[in-house]
Amino acid sequence: MQRAASLRHQDKAPAEPSPADGALTRAKQGDQTAFAELVREYQAMVYSLARNFVRDAAIAEDLAQEVFLHLFRNLAAIESPAHLKFWLRKVTSHRCIDFSRKQKAQGAKTSVSLDEAPEPVSIFDMPDSMMRSTIRRFVATLPEKPRLVVTLRYQEDLDPMEIAEILEMPLNTVKSHLRRSLAILKEKVTRSFGTEF
């Protein structure tokens, strides 16, 4: 777990200075322009995590705004750009899960089991955009945690160790979620396209 503990201070990117370095320092000093720079740099990441989870652009934007407002209030606690990235991924993931639980408590149906998911029309030569849309739809039917695991793995290109730290779950659980989700998604997509993938 020592490696996991150090992950928040590292990043996959090489050690070249990112625009976030200076912006973070200035934003912590109260510079709103610098904060705007940080938002622009990370808004796609935060918004897309939420978007791939909730499958609703408006809700995803609201969630992303809440995450950045939370960041604004907690800038003092952010130690480095790598920590900022880790923090944003973590807070966004937790906000997504909270949102999903609130929806469930209110009786809204946010996800369905894979068997309940409607089958798209089976065609052999489906256009790419349609195929990706179908994949996104199937990802959205996964339960909360596996959905986040798959999203962090394929949207953010994170390895299971990093995902485990962000979602605060054991590494083996992450690997298991990933393996099972992929198997289910592959089977569903294969069935929908009517051909072996």
Binding site: R40, L75, I135
Partner: protein, 158 residues
Amino acid sequence: MSKNRFDDELKHALRREEPSADFTDRLLARVAQEKEGFCEPAEEGRERQNGRRDSRLSWLRQLGALFTLPQLKWATAGALATLLVVSAVGLYQHRQQQLELQRQAELSAQISEAEGQRAKEQVMFAMRIASAKLNVAQKKVRDTLQQDAGQSVGHQQN
């Protein structure tokens, strides 16, 4: 589709997208609104680490937020004035009730005292009557005893 192709499709399907064009502006507007009456974000972040300060700050923030919009200012002022009037009326009524209760208590105390006095007088009167009767009875007994004593002396002399 090979595993790699499936992975690629997943990556494409879940790739990052930009939010709407006004996302940052909307966020900055909210940040500015939040920042208006309060301290710098870094200072605020430090203060948030202190639980009591934090709750006080958020309470103040909520209170302050009531006064940010002009139409809400009047609504809030109206609500506060109504609250003040209702409180004053309530306080006055409570005070009146207290005074009334106090008056009633004093009255009942006076009544009790008068009744006590009357009872005492009746007892004294009864005791005086009893005492007078007792005196009469005592006198009769004494007279009877004296008569009996006189008669027994006469018999002995005879």
